[in-house]
Structure formats: structure tokens, C-alpha cells
Point group: C2
Chain length 199, copies 2
């Protein structure tokens, strides 16, 4: 089955929208999604941006909030802006890499996104993340210990470097097997059609 | 008939894509498009940007070029990046306002976009603009004289200020009768459905 890379950032609300619908839409398109968590912060920092463009450019931030509300309504999923925004998502991303190796990352990532953008929980908090890992029936003590490993930290840096090498500058970004980039939740359908070969 | 405001900037390649398809898609949706030329430069300048974000952020610029190629192929329209990019579009925008008063702006604007993004012509040039006006059967001498009028210059400034007041920060942007903003060529369908009342 053709595979579409789904590069996402836990602090990104448009990544949330994509995460909540990619499995169903990929299935319909006959495509498999590879969940690839990464960090946008280091990429934005190279532009001199210390926070999200939605904070840097207020009129764009206002537009985004309204646009997200409309999308959430259309998809019938809850949406709330987390406070603070953007959330510190490094720990969640490290857990997602571990979960990916063990086959429970899609469930973990969706649970993190829902905690953040539906329940308004602070996903920088160890207890929130631990609760999510426990709810998935995983060994939370072991996982929360492993995110302190140098190897896991390095791995996340390498994933982020790979995203940058691919030319990724925002999230979500979908990457087809032939290296085409599709930036934005609203390009998921186009990315799936491209990957399935129905252009 | 419900009316959708189509705010566009002649230097913007995504405005070109929208301009080439909005009439047909609006007709299908039972919506009328109001063509509203404006200038992005003064809005970008308030962010401290002296050129297009596609020049400021090279990886985004690369993505955009590829994305535009894909869109043009899908829509079966030609596409070439003008040199220099972005083009100086102030004169074309002034003519578009005059043309709007006289009922020939959609034809004029499409002709400008095609000259720029299909033929690669420099739309800052008086002779290029004059040729387009002549080809449309208009009095080119009179029109080219009028774009020097203070009143026309003021009018374009006022239009750009109105865009900014609406919260517009990029082009194209579609604005529904109830004040909803939809940013980007890829949101045209959504804007038309919203305006037609089929959300």
C-alpha cells in the first residue's frame, strides 16, 4: 500500500485537525499514513521567530481561530485554544517516537491532541502525559523514564532535521512517496489523491 | 444573488489561479463575485516585510513554486514565475479600479494575470498595460492618463485600508456577505459554499 508521511507538531492546531481525520480518509484512499512527529520551534527559530506566527501576526492569529472553529464544526470535533499557546510539546513528541517504535503512536498522538485542543489540558505537564500513556495500557513508569534518555532526545532532533531537509516549514505537512510536499490540513485530500495515483 | 468579495493582488500568483476560475465556479454555486483589487505591500510593510514572504522564506518559496505548478497543471492553465518577483502592480491595480466602475474589470484583471503569469510580461510597464487596455477595446489614452489622478491613487489607498480593516493579510482572500474570511486560492470552494448557504 502506498504510504504518505504525515509530519505533525503537537503544538499545531491544524495538525490536530489532520490527526483526527487522516486514518479514515487514508483508508478510503487506499493509502497508509506514517505518523512523523517533529518540532517546528527549531525551524521557526532560524527565521528569527521565537513563537508561533499566529502570535507574531495578530490578524493572522484571529483568522486562524475563526478558521479552526469552522473546521471543527464541519468535522464535528471539539475545539478550544490551549492556554498558553503554543504549548511546550517536546516531551509529547519524544513519547510519540517511543510509541511509534512500539506500534501505539497513532492512538497516543490523537489522545494528546484531544487533551490539548478539546479538553484544554496543558500537554507540557508530566502528569497529563503519564495519564495518557496509562490510559493506553502502556508502562507509564518506563516510558516517562525513557524520555530522559539522550538517545530519545537525539532521535527527535534527527527527525526535526529530516523534516527541515525535506523542505518542511510548517505543520502539518504531508510527503508523498515521490517526495511531493503538501502543506496544511486543507491539503490532506490532495496529498492522498496524489499518493494513490489519482491526480 | 449572494455576492462574494474576491480581494486580490496582481503580484500574487495564487490570486492568478483564483482569478482564472472564480467566474465559472461562482456561476455553478449561484454566487456573484465582486472583484476587489488591493495592494499587499503596505500590509506586509507593517510586519516589517519589504518583499513577498516567498522571497523572505526560501523554503516556503520553493514549496510555492512547486505547488503552483501542480495547481496550474490541474486547472490546465499555463504558469510561469515572473521576473522580477513580485511585480510592481500599483498601476495595474489603479486601472482595475477604473475598469471596475466601467464594467470591464474582470476581463482586464484576467488579461493582466495572463500577461504576467502565462506570458511572463512585466506588468509594471506602461506599454504592456496600455496594450491590454487597447485589446479590450477601451480608450487607452484616457485610461493611462487617469491613473495619474490623485483621486484614483487615493481610491486605491482606501481600498487597501478597507482590506486591512476587514482583517485581510494575504491574497487572495474571499469575504462572504456575513463577514467570514477565507484566505487562499484553495479556499475558494469553501467560500462559495459558505456564501451560497450550503455549509
Amino acid at each position: 500500500m502506498a504510504r504518505l508521511q504525515f509530519w505533525y507538531e503537537f503544538a499545531s492546531p491544524y495538525s490536530y485537525l489532520a490527526a483526527m481525520r487522516i486514518e479514515e480518509e487514508a483508508l478510503e484512499a487506499g493509502v497508509e499514513a506514517d505518523w512523523r512527529p517533529f518540532l517546528l520551534g527549531p525551524i521557526f527559530a532560524k527565521r528569527g521567530w521565537k513563537t508561533s506566527p499566529f502570535n507574531l501576526f495578530p490578524e493572522r492569529g484571529r483568522y486562524m481561530r475563526r478558521d479552526l472553529e469552522r473546521w471543527a464544526e464541519r468535522l464535528s470535533i471539539p475545539f478550544t485554544m490551549p492556554d498558553p499557546f503554543p504549548q511546550y510539546a517536546v516531551r509529547a513528541a519524544r513519547i510519540a517516537l517511543i510509541a511509534g517504535d512500539e506500534g501505539w503512536n497513532a492512538r497516543f498522538s490523537k489522545a494528546v491532541f484531544l487533551a490539548e485542543f478539546s479538553e484544554g489540558l496543558d500537554i507540557s505537564r508530566i502528569d497529563v502525559l503519564r495519564g495518557i500513556v496509562e490510559d493506553l495500557g502502556q508502562d507509564a513508569d518506563a516510558v516517562m523514564e525513557r524520555i530522559k534518555d539522550i538517545a530519545v532526545k537525539e532521535r527527535l532532533r534527527a527527525e526535526t532535521a529530516e523534516a527541515e531537509d525535506l523542505g518542511i516549514f510548517g505543520a502539518p505537512t504531508f510527503v508523498s512517496p515521490d517526495g511531493e510536499l503538501f502543506w496544511g490540513n486543507d491539503r490532506l485530500g490532495e496529498a492522498l489523491r496524489w499518493t494513490a495515483g489519482h491526480n
